[in-house]
């Protein structure tokens, strides 16, 4: 089955399929359209406590679908300012609006620039997932 995945410009991506976007004084974090489609039927999203400080690459929560549970990882080191409480009632937002209303974390981070070397831009992430697909 062939599939086109949404990979918007202006976002940065990790190889574990999280995205991060700068919003002035804070950043938003979520998971990509590719990840949501791989998981299919997301039913629970477990997110960390407000105020938690987590390092780049550290597990910040789980996304649970009918068939599996997947850990989700911090794209950069930061402090959790807010979590998206809408996802408790409507986890489908992660699938239907992965880059907008399906956001998971609002974080503040001082290390974005140093740590952004491990992040991919839209083109690099698109290439990355095309390669994954061709090995399926």
């Amino acid at each position: 089955m062939s599939e086109v995945y949404e990979v918007p410009d202006g976002y940065y991506y990790t190889k574990d399929h999280e995205w991060i976007i700068a919003k002035g004084s804070y950043y938003l974090v979520g998971i990509t359209d590719y990840a949501a489609k791989m998981l299919n039927d997301i039913v629970y999203v477990n997110l960390p406590e407000q105020g938690a400080v987590l390092s780049s690459g550290q597990v910040f929560g789980q996304v649970e679908s009918v068939k599996t549970v997947s850990d989700v990882y911090m794209p950069v080191t930061g402090k959790i300012l807010k979590i998206n409480s809408m996802l408790t009632q409507t986890p489908e937002l992660v699938t239907n609006a992965s880059y907008t209303d399906g956001w998971m974390l609002e974080i503040e981070s001082n290390s974005f620039s140093e740590e952004s070397t491990r992040l991919l831009n839209a083109k690099a992430y698109s290439d990355y997932i095309s390669n994954l697909k061709s090995h399926e």
Binding site: M1, N40, D41, V43, Y44, Q62, E64, S65, V66, K67, V69
Partner: protein
């Protein structure tokens, strides 16, 4: 190299492929939840050709099955199908099977895909002492299942027999879309439905299977009918309270431990595994399979611990998110004393301890869902 069923090209083009029991099968086509609810609300179509199909024919067929199965096949009427298990000498379940009885000398059996080799070897070995011939016709036939409240009216359009007269767990020979088939009113979802065997359909000539498959989907389009993958197959059978071999039952589980007492007829027959089964019926089994529904958030999964009084007491064998109940549901084995309906059990879901309750099956309200639902 994973095997492919007759409908593999369709699955590859429309579905997300996964490997199951040595076969490349569709896990879903669109969404597990959408496919699941299509079966509960209208109808869903499943390719189950990967399952094995065996004929058991001869003068000694009934005596053979009488020894092979804890269920007394002589009590079953011609034209009826029944659910049973094949046990080993220790009462452990080799496979759970559906047997169709055409007559005292003519039966067929549907076996799990993952157990095909094991089952055929076992059947042939036990058959040596009987005047019976066991033949595997899996590769020259296809099997598709149409399940849901609309299944009967949909299939009637292309079946040349009166399906409204076919009782649940009965089967007939019929033409379907002009093709020679067997229609059995059985299924693995808890809903009304049919399992259609297409004869004379070898793996290397699958066109007939694809024709009937696409015809049924065309008849059902606009009525909410969807092709369904293994993901929905699993969540549906679990909601209906049915076991999955390899998860809920295996060679270390007896039918009594598995809470399948109803399939055991303890009459004068010396069926394989009788001593252990008889002892457990008399004295009770130490552990029992139960169904539980989550009271807290979280989805139970195979292998998760069941805790009681702070200690590990049992294990989850199946778990999923129930689209109808909108919560986690599962099956587990727990010690008999804590296996009663209403018992509160703690499920260890990763780092958290969450509460659940032992409930009857099916999990759903049978007046609203399932083959016994109130007719509107």
């Amino acid at each position: 190299m994973p095997k492919h069923s007759h409908l593999y090209n369709y699955h590859k083009e429309h579905g997300k492929i996964t490997e199951f029991s040595g076969f490349d099968m569709p896990l879903w086509y669109t969404s597990i939840i959408d496919e699941h609810m299509a079966v509960r609300n209208s109808a869903g179509l499943f390719d189950v050709s990967h399952m094995g199909r065996v004929s058991i024919i001869g003068k000694g067929a009934s005596d053979f099955l009488s020894h092979l199965l804890p269920t007394n096949s002589s009590k079953i009427r011609d034209g009826r199908a029944f659910y049973s298990v094949m046990c080993n000498e220790n009462g452990g379940i080799i496979d759970d099977v559906i047997t169709n009885k055409s007559s005292e000398s003519d039966y067929s059996m549907v076996i799990n895909a993952g157990n095909r080799e094991k089952d055929i070897a076992w059947l042939k070995r036990v058959a040596q002492d009987y005047e019976v011939s066991v033949e595997d016709y899996s590769d020259s036939s296809a099997l598709i299942a149409l399940q849901g409240p609309l299944a009967c009216e949909l299939l009637q359009d292309i079946a040349d027999s009166k399906l409204s007269e076919l009782k649940r767990f009965s089967f007939i020979q019929s033409l379907v879309d002009g093709e020679r088939c067997q229609i059995s009113r059985t299924g693995y979802t808890g809903e009304d439905g049919f399992e259609i065997t297409l004869y004379d359909t070898p793996l290397n000539q699958p066109e007939r299977a694809l024709k009937v498959w696409t015809k049924i989907l065309a008849l059902g389009s606009g009525k909410g009918v969807l092709p369904c993958g293994l993901g929905a197959r699993d969540s549906l059978r679990l909601e209906a309270g049915m076991c999955l071999y390899g998860q809920d039952i295996d060679e270390k589980t007896t039918p009594i431990e598995a809470s399948l007492e109803s399939i055991v007829n303890l009459d004068e027959r010396k069926f394989i595994g009788r001593p252990v089964i008889e002892e457990q019926i008399k004295n009770g089994a130490a552990r029992k399979r139960i169904a539980f529904s989550m009271r807290d958030a979280g989805i139970p999964r195979h292998g998760f611990d069941i805790l009681f009084s702070g200690k590990v007491a049992g294990v989850v064998t199946s778990g999923t998110f129930s689209p109808v109940m909108k919560k986690g549901i599962g099956m587990a084995y727990v010690p008999s004393p804590i296996s009663s309906l209403g018992q509160i059990l703690t499920v260890k879901i990763r780092e958290s301890e969450r509460n659940s309750e032992v409930v009857p099956v099916p999990f759903y309200d049978t007046t609203k869902y399932g083959y016994k639902r109130a007719k509107t």
